[in-house]
Symmetry: C2
Subunit: 339 residues, 2 copies
DNA sequence: ATGAAAGCGCTAACAG
DNA sequence: CTGTTAGCGCTTTCAT
């Protein structure tokens, strides 16, 4: 090994050592290329010895397609989101794509990050965070860059989307809460509007209105556990006339429960029924046994990945919207189930 | 707009429309390049009109450096891991790097993924999952590819690492548990060995031995909540002669607590003291108030990113090991604190 | 089956 | 300050 130079080894080096042309080493690393088994082995051997690796970026430049995809996500350290991202990454990888992960912090402009992705020639980008501006969505469309939005509503029919059926979510929550005993309801949802979480709360309120049930509205500062814990300070004050509460997010529900237990010794479901939404892992933990509405992360992400793959395949296909159905999960914070 | 062809627009197109050379458009997009304000604006305008974006991959090919980095992580949907990854991604991004996220699934070969990163000319890779084989670590070193390992132990002094002080962790757990009343201890840790989690359990046991305190060992199937819940079935049987238990992971501790409460009506800390490790968000939740040993994810990841940046800067610097100190967090599952 | 040559989109070195 | 030239590492016609 005299050639331990610092220069990265290129196909040229391999070609020389194998005594063939650069084309041959390219072929040796290309599935189903026109090359004899003998030559291929010769090349592979030389490559091995030299520690050669195909430079995918250069390859992409030539073939005019990269197998990079973008994932832009916010609140990555939140149970539901991290689940989504894990599945998405895994799924992309299993399809031969490599995900670039761009995390959105509060105050960031999502569009900016989507825009950055464009610089990397990604095959497509999936966003599960705040909604990018119509402008950037337009730009993606113009550049024929596949873009799929998760739980951002059908954005003016301009991008592929996967979203939960917010209507169904609201109605499900209502039914779960009122099935056993009608009552005086409440809902807690975050102040900052967002398609899916504000949407389900709105739908719930609407349903109450239709059914002529009074509903108190509690606005939390965010959709976190801490926010639930905080707002529960107010809920506690209304405990005497509230039967059941729908928390727009499991995390919110968990915070609410802990605060109520701590300050008012509330028992669930006897003193208060509660229903969450998402079905994060913690909802099923023994300390909570939260009844909730399951939003199947796997189904959701798989649908999104499929949409993206299809659009990469056929950029001119009509826009798709996948409306995800929800499942009620009866655990121990509601009085009875449907049977 | 007659030129709405499908062809992606290149610097050549922009150059022509702006009436300058390709070099000029390159300069226009390069920080601190030698170009007049007037020309730059002309180029920028043309670029804007055409919807031009610099192709970073091509740029990287030329400048022989990409601003891509790799993150390989397992169990991404776990509280601590997702926190690490969020911080890492955020940190890399803020330094101008774009992280490619490769998730490791059980049974995967970590080395394979590190290897894949090499194809993308990443500036470096951070791994927080199972330990890659010495072989791949060697290869990275040979290719002068910066590699930093989090909580994988000092791998034969062959890669930069950041890890917790397992010794301190074990001793801290011991002290937290025995400070108020000496007793009969137990430890639960997963079967599958891993540097940091097995390490802290071993250190705890060792400390008990030195101090002449008996310690029961419970082996769980993994480090998850569910595994803790399961193994607590056995712990329950020994409840009469155990005072305190150290769970190698917060998640494990939470599972243990829930099971013990459900089946034996155990009260913490009165019936049993418990100490976890990591300090995930859930440890602080009202249903648990788990006393634990904090492993500061932010500090840890920042240290790792810094190591990597430094190595990119200077590939030949001596290997670094960052030994992270731990902090005891006294909540309500231990009897008293240090004061 | 193999090699020569052209070129993907970009930047850097060199003239002017 | 600007244009010309020469590649970065790779794949791909097109001949042979």
């Amino acid at each position: 090994m005299t050639d331990d130079h610092n220069k990265p080894v290129t196909s040229f080096d391999v070609a020389r050592r194998a005594g063939v042309s650069r084309s041959m080493v390219s072929r040796a690393f290309t599935e189903g290329a026109n090359i004899s088994e003998k030559s291929r082995e010769k090349v592979l051997k030389a490559a091995e010895e030299l520690g050669y690796r195909v430079n995918f970026l250069a390859r992409g430049l030539q073939t005019r397609q990269s197998n990079l995809v973008g994932i832009v996500a916010s609140s990555l350290d939140t149970p539901f989101r991290s689940r989504q991202v894990r599945i998405a990454a895994q799924e992309f990888i299993s399809h031969g794509y490599r995900p670039i992960l761009l995390t959105v912090e509060p105050g960031d402009d999502v569009g900016q990050w989507v825009s950055v992705m464009l610089n990397y020639n990604v095959a497509g980008v999936m966003v599960t965070s705040a909604t990018p501006s119509p402008k950037i969505i337009q730009e993606c469309r113009k550049l024929r860059m596949p873009l799929v939005l998760i739980n951002r509503g059908k954005n003016q029919d301009i991008a592929d989307t996967v979203q939960i059926d917010v209507q169904q979510a609201g109605e499900l929550a209502f039914t779960m809460l009122t099935r056993s005993r009608a009552g005086r309801l409440a809902v807690v949802h975050p102040q900052i509007p967002s398609y899916s979480v504000t949407g389900r709360a709105r739908a719930f309120i609407e349903k109450c209105r239709i059914e002529n049930i009074e509903v108190d509205e509690f606005i939390s500062t965010s959709q976190s556990y801490a926010a639930g814990y905080d707002i529960a300070g107010n809920i506690g004050l209304s405990l005497d006339h509230i039967d059941g509460v729908f928390c727009a997010t499991d995390l919110l529900a968990l915070g609410v429960m802990d605060r109520l237990r701590a300050d008012w010794n509330t028992r669930f479901p006897d003193d208060l029924q509660v229903v969450g939404c998402d079905d994060i892992e913690q909802a099923g933990w023994g300390a909570y046994h939260l009844s909730t509405i399951r939003q199947d992360a796997e189904e959701q992400v798989l649908a999104a990945v499929t949409q993206m793959l299809e659009r990469i395949e056929n950029p001119d296909a009509p826009i798709q919207h996948y409306n995800q159905r929800l499942t009620p999960i009866f655990r121990k914070t509601t009085l009875s189930n449907y049977d």
